[in-house]
Subunit: 283 residues, 2 copies
């Protein structure tokens, strides 16, 4: 029963990165009845790719994504080539692990630059260059728009509208968006953009957490679902109306939750998933 | 000479609010050759409206705006009526002071609400209800889109595109936008939106500061021009190409700059205005 009812829940392993190794986190998720996860590349590297893939397969765990590729902009061509190589390796790792998509945090301004349109152009160029390899490997590329407060240093794709514009500009199959409530909940045209993403078949992942008031840190003060300002049932209803019924993936960067026992974090995720994350009835 | 060359500079008095009263700030600005300011209502109230208006007139000081009206959303009709009354008083104060516009920080979610579209509807309703009074008083209303990180608690208008959509929906003269580089520098369609604002005759103010990397506080870690990631000459070039040639108004919320002597802050504003804020040559 517990396993069945948690089919719609995935845990992004950043949520418990301070508590557990990859293997420990997989064990803990399974113990709680959670069978879908999204690991980070550094967690996989610490375990070793082959060992990690073996853990995934032997436990029948489903990967809703692999975090992350991206960080395309660089001050010079050599830097951009290095970034592209690393992204190709990320694609290979996602393929080896059977991840549903490779999540892209595209990168911000190159060091010393104030040219945001230029950085954005580099992102489009980098993604376009990566796509043949990603398509050959069968790994969908999920552009994750990040909150505008990360435009300078983490990602210069800052709205779902912009991510979809890029996916359309690159064209073809295998490119879409990872939609994280934290990053786009404020977007004025959110409803229209989610519907558009659905029509494009471009919803590759749905990440959840909450926006705390006040937010004390730009990076590591994200909230547990239900503790903040985001209408999660309304958001999920838009996602499902757009045709995406994959798991809701809990991704919480939080000094608070990283300080709690991992089992408490997972139990809280499950309780909140059951009580505050269901899609609101339509109409 | 100094006075002449500083015609394009205005100081929003939030920048020196911890150092000086309104009267002291006016004296200091004049001492530095700065003749345009934008005070806040609490600073005016502390001085007394009539006394403040007298200080403005007797010194020939130009007000590029009055900060701020707004905060329209409320949990109930009585709260919204109270907000509207307060906004009418803000209009009257702006008229008495001869301010070029009343800057609107529109407000976020009502207490306990997660209904962002609902809050946005309340903002449009409040602004529409205010406009007859503002037009009768001859006070232009400047909607200030605030950075999306303030959507929950300060302003649910979070892009220039959204502010212009609202101005268009309300229609008629006397409503436009205050464009602050800090809040909209990340906007993917920024160039198009500034050009659109120019065509609408809707650019009522141009605020400047900078986006620091890292940013340590969501509210009070804004940067001095030149210390951050924003292409200020490029931004100003778009503003001027759109037909706005009014002063650049320095508005910096910063625990750092509030801890410095006021004269040092003003001297730094002047030096940076002269060295890093000129419009980039076109073409």
């Amino acid at each position: 029963m517990a396993g069945k009812s948690l089919d719609g829940l995935s845990i992004n392993l950043a949520t418990v990165r301070k508590q557990w190794t990859f293997a420990e986190a997989v064990d803990a998720c399974l113990r709680h009845g959670i069978t879908a996860i999204c690991p980070w590349r550094d967690q996989i590297a610490d375990t070793g790719l082959k060992e990690a893939a073996s853990i995934v397969r032997s436990n029948g765990v489903r990967l809703t994504g692999l975090c992350r590729g991206g960080f395309f902009p660089a001050p010079d061509a050599a830097g951009r080539a290095t970034a592209l190589d690393d992204n190709r390796r990320a694609v290979d790792e996602a393929a080896e692990l059977g991840a549903a998509c490779l999540v892209m945090v595209v990168g911000g301004l190159p060091a010393g630059s104030k040219d945001l349109p230029g950085a954005r152009a580099q992102v489009v160029e980098g993604l376009a260059a990566l796509m043949p390899h990603a398509r050959a490997a069968g790994v969908p590329i999920a552009i994750e728009p990040l909150h505008p407060m990360y435009a300078a240093d983490r990602a210069c794709v800052n709205s779902l509208a912009q991510a979809l514009d890029i996916a359309e500009a690159i064209g073809g199959p295998g490119i879409g968006a990872a939609i994280d409530v934290y990053h786009v909940w404020w977007e004025p045209s959110l409803a229209a953009q989610i519907a558009r993403a659905g029509r494009m078949g471009a919803i590759l992942a749905h990440h959840i957490c909450d926006w705390l008031v006040p937010t004390r840190d730009l990076l590591n003060d994200r909230g547990m679902m239900g503790d903040g300002a985001i209408d999660l049932p309304g958001f999920r209803a838009m996602i499902e109306a757009a045709g995406f019924h994959g798991p809701q993936e809990v991704e919480i960067f939080s000094d608070h939750w990283w300080s709690r026992p991992g089992d408490e974090v997972l139990a809280t995720c499950i309780e909140r998933f059951r009580t505050v994350c269901r899609a609101a009835p339509s109409g």
